[in-house]
């Protein structure tokens, strides 16, 4: 059995596939429902004659809400699953088992990285399909092409997030520490993204990009940040492989 089959077994037998799929599916089903019933919920909870008017739900606002949840909850579950998979040295004796058998440090990182990336993207696709279906029947039609483009940008965000987790995994040992520092770094990037001149370049701009794409924003607006994110992910992954090779247990 090689590392690739082992990583598929890991995702499957540790139920991480269920955690990923469940979170993205719940977001995909839940957010369009919430957007659709938001005005009724607000109206029912209004008291003392105060009238709060919610905006009329549109397909774009439904997908934007989905994108926003993916950026938060989806990213969190991706980071946790990534940290649990990539924190190789969290169990030293197990790490010794692998380290004394692999030919190159990349054999230790790449299969884990790719497995988390592929299964997270699959879960994201399932979430997008759920959101598309719910939005179409409750609110209105959504362009499948726009969703596909949006998925591409969201997948780049997933790639960047997991590469960041891999980089932290090469520097820290505990799963909790890797997850915490990864989340902290993503939050810091998010804060940097609020600075006007940097907003178009911070990878966090991709985290909820599916909403604006469906809303009519040109994909060209995400070209710069896509390049930055791709280069950043490759650099982070390269760093992780370099560090894990030099690191002692």
């Amino acid at each position: 059995m090689g590392m690739w089959r082992l990583e598929i077994l890991r995702i499957w037998r540790t139920r991480r596939i269920i955690a990923l799929t469940a979170v993205f599916l719940i977001i995909g089903i839940g957010d369009p429902l919430l957007v659709h019933f938001l005005s009724k919920l607000i109206a029912n909870s209004s008291k003392n004659g105060v009238i709060v008017v919610a905006p009329t739900p549109t397909p774009a606002s439904s997908i934007a809400s989905f994108g926003s949840s993916v950026a938060q909850l989806g990213t969190l579950v991706t980071v946790v699953v990534g940290a649990a998979t990539l924190a190789i040295d969290s169990r030293p004796a197990l790490a010794a088992f692998y380290r004394t058998r692999i030919r190159h440090p990349r054999d230790l990182i790449l299969p884990r990285f790719v497995a988390v990336l592929v299964f997270t993207c699959l879960a994201l696709v399932i979430g997008i399909i759920a959101a598309w279906y719910e939005t179409s029947i409750l609110i209105g039609p959504v362009s499948a092409a726009d969703l596909a483009v949006g998925f591409g940008f969201e997948a780049l965000w997933v790639l960047f997030s997991i590469a960041l987790v891999a980089a932290w995994s090469s520097m820290l040992k505990s799963v909790l520490a890797v997850a915490a520092w990864s989340v902290a770094t993503l939050l810091a990037l998010s804060l940097i993204g609020t600075i006007h001149v940097l907003s178009a370049w911070s990878p966090t701009a991709l985290s909820s990009s599916i909403g604006p794409i469906v809303g009519g924003t040109s994909p060209n607006n995400f070209t710069g940040v896509s390049i930055v994110s791709t280069i950043g992910a490759i650099a982070l992954l390269g760093f992780a492989i370099f560090r894990i090779g030099r690191r002692e247990q």
Partner: protein
Amino acid sequence: MNAISTTNLGKRYRSQYALKGIDLEIPRGSIYGLLGPNGAGKTTALEIIAGLRHPSFGQVQIQGRAGYTAYCPDVAEFEPWLSPAEVLEVSAGLLGRPKPMDKINDMLAMVGLKDTEARHVSGFSRGMLARLGLGAALICDPEILLLDEPVAALDPLGQHEIMDLLTNLRSSVTIVISSHDLTEIEQRCDTVGVLNAGELIHQGPLSQLLKSHAQHIWYLEVRPPATELVARLATVPWASAVSEVSPGVVEIHYLNSEEAERKLPVLLANSGSQLISLTQAKPTLEEVFLSITKNNIESAEQGEA
């Protein structure tokens, strides 16, 4: 010819030395016992040889093919969601030496895990994990096997089984065992190295080590009574102490072996005693180990003073 040799091998963690420049010489096909108290540097030495740690200075030379050195840590750990057969499959597969299922099952039987194929590793005891660790190493056809406390987690019967298995591998595999079980080391190893506080304070054939620490004591057994013999021995200048430890068994502490060897037979004949046996008191490895580590600590303390 040495399978492993190290030259001035050292490891430093900030200002603390885990190894202070050791020159190990591990003969090919031998079972080498690496002894030492806790914190002596045994695990560090094994981990450096296994490639898991980088030496701060010095070198390791391994005579053999790359990828044929297997290492078992003291507490083996595996993916809890794998079956033992899958662990062996992964172990061999990662090295590019996949094994058919019948070989894997044979190996599980060899390490005493025959009836566990259907279970997942998560339910394994420490002893079972230690057996699986050994199986995962052996399935890779190693030329060198580095074992850190391989039997510490096993019951006495299990210890004996695993040590028997390792003894049978002698000559085809070079085995380095770090252990606190000095009885097993004494029975199984042919060469030993003793580490203390990061220094290699002794290295060589086990028989030589025991011989160099042989005590000047004989146990002379004669047909009782031995009263006359004891009385005569008490007067000779080459014996420092004589006592009858049990009926007919006389313990003789001699000062000069050459003189004692020459004069004892004459004295025995003159006393009219009927000789049953004469044996030399042999120190156990544990006694020798305690003696040399204690001496090393004392000389280090004197040096500091």
